[in-house]
Symmetry: C2
Subunit: 244 residues, 2 copies
């Protein structure tokens, strides 16, 4: 059984949360748009899926996961992760309803943080470039660096501490820990000055990130060509003028 992931082939983006979960679960998957267009991959494969090629409920945007077990087509990162957790015990969602709901809640809060990080360089319109909305970006980024990012990070540090310091939800590792580790890396890439100032207040999260990246399957993934680097085409972009 091989999953098919449809996501932009050049950036980690929101697809990275799904890739990390699939890798940590040891699931077989094809990152379709990273295969050649002439063999049915590439960006055209994504566009066909957005057009509804896979079924009656088309996605609004990538990432999209096709699960051949049940021929499920799922969009929205958090919905994909919630589904994967129901299939893979390693992702810690199956079985315990309270834990599953708690993980979904935290993942949605991570999604809110990711959206706000994205909007620091696109506060006006996704149809415009960053350069076409630089003035507004400077103002939005200042609010993000000073108020919003610290508020979200303090929240997750608090959640971690209340849970005993090892995991964010319940007593097992799961997709939420993978997601928060990735967000920390993204914030550190995009806002190195800001991140340096936040470090002292998030010792638990930093240790959680280290433990996450040391997991054998994840360490192997990070060292592989499957892993894409952050860049100024993605969600987490490093523009020094926004990192003040």
């Amino acid at each position: 059984m091989t999953y098919r992931l449809y996501y932009w082939p050049e950036i980690p983006g929101r697809g990275e949360f799904v890739r990390l979960a699939l890798e940590d679960a040891g699931a077989e998957y094809v990152d379709v748009a990273r295969t050649p267009a002439k063999k049915g991959g590439g960006v055209p494969a994504i566009l066909r899926v957005l057009d509804g090629e896979l079924g009656a409920l088309p996605p609004f945007a990538p990432p999209v996961l096709f699960d051949p077990d049940g021929e499920l087509v799922i969009a929205q990162t958090a919905a994909i992760l919630d589904h994967l957790a129901s299939r893979h015990r390693a992702l810690a969602g199956g079985g315990d309803h309270a834990r599953r709901v708690g993980a979904l809640q935290l993942q949605l809060t991570i999604a809110d943080l990711v959206s706000e990080a994205h909007d620091t360089h696109h506060p006006i319109s996704v149809a415009l470039t960053y350069e076409e909305q630089k003035a507004e970006s400077a103002r939005r980024a200042a609010s993000f660096v000073r108020e919003r990012a610290p508020k979200f990070l303090a929240y997750f540090e608090d959640v971690l501490a209340r849970g005993g310091g090892e995991h964010l939800v319940g007593a097992r590792f799961g997709y939420v820990e993978l997601s928060i580790a990735h967000v920390l890396d993204g914030l550190a890439y995009a806002f190195p000055r800001g991140f340096a100032s936040w470090r002292a207040s998030i010792p638990g999260l930093l240790a959680l990130r280290d433990r996450t990246w040391a997991r054998p399957r994840i360490a192997a993934y990070l060292a592989s060509p499957r892993r894409l680097a952050f860049s100024e085409a993605g969600i987490f972009r490093h523009y020094p003028e926004l990192d003040r």
Copy 2:
């Protein structure tokens, strides 16, 4: 068994999606912050919940639902609705996994639309008033009215048509239909000029909204004092200068 909802007492806001689901399911609930502070309600009740009063996993923001069955405390609108659907067959989430995942996917896309509608009047910071970010709001709202809102509406109209025109997901009414009906009302309130121009392209959604508001429990709710009006303190705000 009585649910407890914690949400800002003066606005429909994101809490309205939960209220509509509870009302349509005929569930007993207390809208805690709308009860007197001296009796344990009011905004102070929300602040205590945000402080973690109800358990180890505190919410980042309202709405928050307390479900006495299992003593579950759930934040994030879509996670709350997904949970309620697992408890109430009328909300059409229980049983069929594909349908549950599809509903969650659509609700998360609705949430994205709601966030973008909110950011038309707060494109820079939630810590500032609209008046402090009016210039940026004008630019963001223009993009929303011309590009983003029509794109989301065309998507949901297409989903509805592909599903046969009666329901958005599966063959039964559920929380997603309630949510989209509310969003249509919110958009019509905030952007009457824009909405007038979108109407012709969303006949299916408009009919779905009419059917939704005619449901007996929902009609009774809309006529009751429990229903709060849209205003310029909420997510959907009518500023004529943003509706062009």
